[in-house]
């Protein structure tokens, strides 16, 4: 095996998933549309009092981001499972966990990054102060990859089931809770003008933890699902 073959497989897989996403634009637009709609419905539902919106805004944005991610998770492995390409990944001469990282990275670029880009606009919509919006961006930048990474384990475990959607939510949502608590609280704290380094450190720790463990767990889960 040549030494550059693994990086080649990694970039080719990443490129493949991005190409597929571009050919299925709905996959990019659906979670984003969901995110924007849910967030913008809240002021209509609970009233446009700026103080109230400022208080619940961070929570709303983060819950919406979390649900949008959940909505798009199945896309990581479902279609690959159905057409048999997932088997081919397991039978490749490369470590499956590295291929998993490429797939999760593609998923984040397709679903997480657009949320990140549009979130300052939603922050303004909910009347968050400038400092809080910057912290919101940072928490989303650190947090949305965690959503994809943890989600990948859940999808890998449920991809062989016919109706895995419900079980997937039950498996994954509890694991999202710590991230939700720290991230929404960080934005709240920033809005109150207090330092948030502790929050950000904790979220970074979550990112490092999931980045190092999730690919291995996902690869193992895929083996179980396909056997």
């Amino acid at each position: 095996m040549t030494s550059d073959s693994l990086p080649r497989a990694f970039t080719l897989l990443l490129k493949r998933d991005l190409t597929l996403a571009v050919r299925h634009r709905a996959e990019i637009l659906n979670p984003l549309l969901f995110f924007v709609l849910v967030t913008s419905l809240f002021p209509l539902g609970i009233g446009a009092d700026p103080k109230l919106l400022q208080a619940v805004g961070p929570g709303i944005i983060w819950v919406a981001a979390l649900l949008a991610a959940l909505l798009s998770l199945e896309g990581i492995f479902r279609s690959d499972f159905e057409d048999g390409t997932l088997e081919q990944f397991l039978l490749s001469s490369h470590p499956v966990s590295v291929l998993v990282i490429a797939k999760v990275l593609a998923h984040w670029l397709i679903t997480g990054l657009p949320l990140l880009v549009i979130s300052p606009l939603l922050g303004v919509l909910l009347g968050l102060p400038g400092d809080a919006i910057i912290i919101l961006l940072i928490t989303l930048a650190l947090g949305t990859p965690v959503l994809s990474l943890i989600g990948a384990v859940g999808v890998a475990l449920t991809v062989g089931l016919r109706k895995g959607g419900m079980i997937l939510s039950l498996l994954v949502l509890p694991l999202y809770v710590p991230l939700l608590i720290f991230a929404a609280n960080a934005v709240d704290t920033a809005a109150a003008g207090l330092p948030v380094t502790a929050h950000l450190s904790l979220i970074s720790a979550l990112l490092v933890l999931s980045l190092s463990l999730s690919p291995l767990a996902t690869a193992a889960a895929l083996r179980i699902s396909l056997s």
Partner: protein
């Protein structure tokens, strides 16, 4: 197309497969060497696909072991997969990619050989379709594309599950020639087929799984 070097050997020892409390086969043993073909026969549901998936290493046998050059394939992992290529019941190609894109991915997942992607497409009579979305090809053409995956990596053992499904008479002939070429140049073949497989220059072992049912 095939790596040279030592003579490889695939062995199965006392394999057993249980599915939904039913023993599909037990005590299955064979030994496959380079230049040989293993043809699995048996009724529908007799465990042919399950056996192939066990040989691939996707599925675990309920008892017994599969070894490659004497080492358990579960222990070898990617070091075993680099020698094998599997075309299963599902084609393992993306319908929203072109044949060229599909083959490029398949090549990157294994150990690339010298055959260009275009040449591989030409060998399965798909030259001229390289930039059409695979979705727009016929079922037989999609199957031929799946089989073209075999040609772009350097592998010894081809594991094929019903390779002739949806192929026409001409397509079957083309693929049979490829299989024959593979074994006669030192490759191994493990295949299930309802269609009689004509491999002129190959030592063939046949296992009928219906006979082994408990």
């Amino acid at each position: 197309m095939i790596e040279t070097g030592n003579n490889n050997m695939l062995e199965a020892h006392a394999l057993e497969c249980i599915r939904d409390d039913r023993t599909l086969f037990s005590g299955l043993a064979f030994r496959l060497e380079r230049g040989q073909a293993l043809i699995l026969e048996g009724r529908n549901g007799s465990g042919k696909t399950s056996l192939l998936r066990i040989l691939c290493g996707i599925r675990l046998a309920d008892a017994g072991t599969v070894t490659w050059d004497g080492t358990d394939i579960g222990k070898l992992g990617p070091d075993y997969h680099v020698h094998t290529a599997y075309v299963g019941h599902r084609d393992g190609i993306k319908l929203d990619l072109t044949p060229l894109e599909n083959l490029a991915m398949a090549r990157a997942l294994g150990k690339p050989n010298d055959t260009t992607l275009e040449a591989a497409l030409e060998k399965v009579d798909l030259y001229g379709f390289e930039d059409v979305l695979t979705r727009n090809l016929s079922a037989g053409q999609q199957r031929r594309l799946a089989l073209a995956r075999l040609l772009v990596t350097d592998t010894v053992l081809w594991i094929l599950d019903e390779p002739f499904t949806s192929l026409d008479v001409h397509g079957i002939q083309v693929i049979e020639e490829l299989l024959d070429q593979h074994t006669s140049s030192g490759g191994m073949l493990a295949v299930t087929s309802h269609h009689a497989v004509n491999l002129a220059s190959t030592t063939i072992q046949r296992i009928n799984l219906s006979d082994l049912a408990a």
